[in-house]
């Protein structure tokens, strides 16, 4: 019986593009579940159009992006699709079941593995899903790879943070980006143990420290918050972090997978924001409002909120963010993205935001209070 199963051809598994996290899935599928992995093509306008055409019009844009990625992955030979979901209280919960139906209706015969069907409280529920990908998986390999992937996740997010914070000050264009991509490539080829991952991480950090930068005495510090997918995926956010880096902003983003999955304490954040919010408004609002407040207290120069158009929890967070903005005199810029093509409007608003906080900061540095420094400008 067992032998027969092993002779089954390997499945071609794929997951959608999502920041740089795709590589973790790839590693887990190839090393842990020992199947083939089909890398979804980079997100392009075509991905967006495919997703758009086959999605409900008013669904949030991550649904459209991930669906587009799945369809392109299927074209590239994928026969098994993995989608995340889980415990969150927003539309993400229904992504998997909706997309499965849409893909089936399009006539594709694929296996759809919906992680929303598993629960963190019951680890065995994950094994049932793994079995859908490889009925004959080895628990030892899964556990071993799982540990490596968690180490990779930690390393990836820390390196990403370093890039966000420092890319604005690099002397040679693209240095941090190049080192980051080299790092991702090395992770994929890493031996299956956390020590090797740590070694790659340390070397990358060292290389990044060696990148020549020019940090001003008082850099502009901007907190980036918002909806999960849009904040972390460059294509969805119209490369906003890169645009910010061009203006020499120091981007501080708390929101990433390791922070939310491994290092997040909801009670702690709730306590921090209790003067503003008495209950959770769903998904990431508590953590976003909490981080925004922390940054406001630290004297950051601005907050930027990114979300997909119609993201209800993040819209609910807006009045709270406005209160924080006026209480701490910290400007806030709201962006809602859907599937628009033109960058011009985004650049106009971002440039104006930059001009505003820069002039405000210069005025403050000159005399401590903006009202008095005004005459100088």
């Amino acid at each position: 019986m067992k032998k027969k199963k092993q002779n089954e051809p390997k499945r071609n598994v794929s997951f959608s593009q999502f920041g740089s996290y795709n590589l973790l899935f790839e590693y887990f599928i190839t090393h842990g579940l020992e199947q083939n992995y089909v890398r979804p093509p980079e997100i392009t306008k075509r991905t967006m159009e495919l997703g758009n055409r086959n999605s409900p019009d008013f669904v949030c844009s991550p649904f459209k992006f991930t669906l587009g990625c799945f369809l392109e992955a299927i074209e590239a030979g994928a026969d098994t699709i993995v989608q995340v979901g889980g415990v969150v209280a927003c539309r993400l919960k229904y992504y998997g079941s909706m997309q499965k139906k849409i893909i089936e209706d399009l006539g594709y015969d694929i296996r759809f593995v919906n992680l929303a069907e598993a629960s963190r409280e019951d680890p065995r529920s994950f094994l049932a899903l793994f079995r859908k990908i490889n009925p004959d998986f080895s628990l030892v390999k899964i556990l071993r790879t799982g540990i490596t992937v968690v180490a990779m996740l930690e390393a990836l997010d820390r390196v990403q943070l370093t890039v966000s914070k420092n890319a604005g000050f690099e002397l040679r264009d693209g240095d941090f980006d190049r080192e980051f991509r080299r790092f991702c490539g090395r992770l994929l080829k890493s031996p299956n143990d956390p020590i090797s991952v740590y070694r790659i991480y340390r070397e990358t950090k060292k290389n990044m420290r060696a990148i020549p930068t020019d940090v001003p005495e008082h850099p502009l510090r901007i907190a980036v918050i918002g909806e999960y997918y849009t904040v972390m995926d460059d294509y969805s956010s119209h490369n906003i972090e890169k645009k910010m880096a061009k203006y020499g902003m120091r981007v501080e983003r708390w929101m990433n997978v390791s922070h939310t999955l491994l290092h997040y304490s909801a009670p702690k954040r709730r306590k921090i924001i209790r003067d503003y919010v008495q209950y959770d408004m769903g998904v990431t609002t508590t953590s976003n409002v909490g981080f925004a407040l922390e940054c406001a207290k630290k004297g950051f120069d601005g907050i930027i909120q990114l979300k997909s158009f119609g993201c209800t929890p993040e819209i609910d967070a807006m009045p709270v963010l406005r209160s924080i903005s006026s209480d701490y005199d910290i400007p806030i810029l709201f962006f809602s993205f859907d599937c628009q093509n033109a960058d011009t409007g985004i650049e106009t608003r971002l440039e104006a935001f930059y001009d505003m906080i820069r002039l405000k900061k210069e005025a403050q540095l000159k005399s401590g209070a903006p009202e008095r420094a005004a005459a100088a400008i």
Partner: protein
């Protein structure tokens, strides 16, 4: 030869230009409709500015551009400064009204609010994703009612009882308006209702959560509509300042920024006689198909943009 600075503001509906001297005095100013052809609008604009300008006494040493076509026109005019319209408006307005604390701006396709304290911008907002409550909407509805848009405000002023019209969204506002017309409301009341709807839409969306403090300056094409000005006064309970050069504030700001930049680049009014060609072409090197824009002057490429990566960089 004395120096002068040119500021050009190319918006979706109108194109504005001013020339100033070293003391920020306006030497020439012009306003005309863009009519969907920014290149041609700028050509006409420059010809008219040239007539008002004494070229024997002064030369334009730097150009600043702003407005939604700022990049294109900036390339064509070899601008020293290409600046977003929010900053340009703030700079221009504070030079006319140094004590301004709130700027309302409603243009053809967008609307914004700028909050200033002590001459420094401390907050701003711009409408997103939707053109409700902008000049284009009023123009459309004026056409529907068969009223010249220039008279719209005056007609609204004759109303004693503005008809309530939904302020949420142009689609709702428009269907409300159609119904009000059909049940027999007077044109005066409908115009006044529409002015009020535009103001409520602005205050509820763009200006949401902003501390509106006087002095308030109202700019943009819609500020020429007296009905909207009156509705703003009624809703805010404050005096609304509209000055005759308000529509030039963006161009004025761009000219000041060009002067402040300290950068001098040759400019010649003869640019209107040159042959400019703009091509937009899909890159085709990957599925993203970036739209790469190339600007040619007399057959020679002077600028290009639109590519996301190096592969799409246009070769001269």
């Amino acid at each position: 030869m004395k120096k002068a600075y040119l500021g050009v503001d190319v918006g979706s509906i109108s194109t504005k230009g001013v020339i100033i001297d070293e003391n920020k005095k306006i030497l020439a100013g012009e306003y005309l409709y863009t009519k969907g052809d920014p290149m041609n609008a700028v050509r006409t604009l420059l010809r008219r500015l040239e007539q008002q300008f004494d070229a024997a006494e002064r030369t334009v040493v730097a150009v600043g551009t702003t407005g939604s076509a700022r990049k294109l026109i900036g390339a064509v005019l070899n601008a020293a400064v290409v600046k977003n319209e929010i900053t340009a408006h703030a700079i221009g307005t504070t030079n006319i009204h140094p004590d301004v604390r709130t700027i309302f701006e409603i243009g053809g396709q967008d609307s914004k609010i700028i909050i200033l304290r002590g001459g420094v911008v401390t907050d701003y907002a711009m409408n997103t994703l939707c053109a409700a409550g902008t000049g284009a909407f009023i123009s459309n509805q004026a056409a529907r009612l068969d009223i010249p848009v220039e008279e719209f405000g005056a007609i609204a002023m004759r109303s004693n009882d503005p008809t309530p019209i939904a302020a949420r969204c142009t689609v709702f506002a428009e269907s409300d308006l159609v119904h009000k017309v059909q049940i027999g409301c007077s044109k005066e009341d409908i115009c006044a209702g529409l002015c009020r709807a535009v103001v409520l839409n602005y205050l509820n969306n763009v200006a949401k959560g902003k501390k509106i403090e006087p002095p308030i300056v109202f700019q943009g094409g819609v500020s020429k509509n007296i009905g909207v000005v009156r509705a703003f006064e009624n809703e805010t309970g404050q005096e609304i300042i509209v000055d005759e050069n308000g529509h030039l504030a963006g161009a004025f700001g761009a000219a000041i920024l060009a002067m402040r930049s300290g950068e001098e680049r040759p400019f010649d009014f003869a640019v209107t006689e040159m042959d400019f060609k703009i091509t937009g072409k899909s890159c085709g090197r990957c599925a993203n198909n970036c739209e790469v824009i190339r600007v040619f002057r007399d057959g020679e490429m002077i600028d290009s943009w639109g590519n996301r990566c190096e592969r799409g960089a246009a070769k001269a």
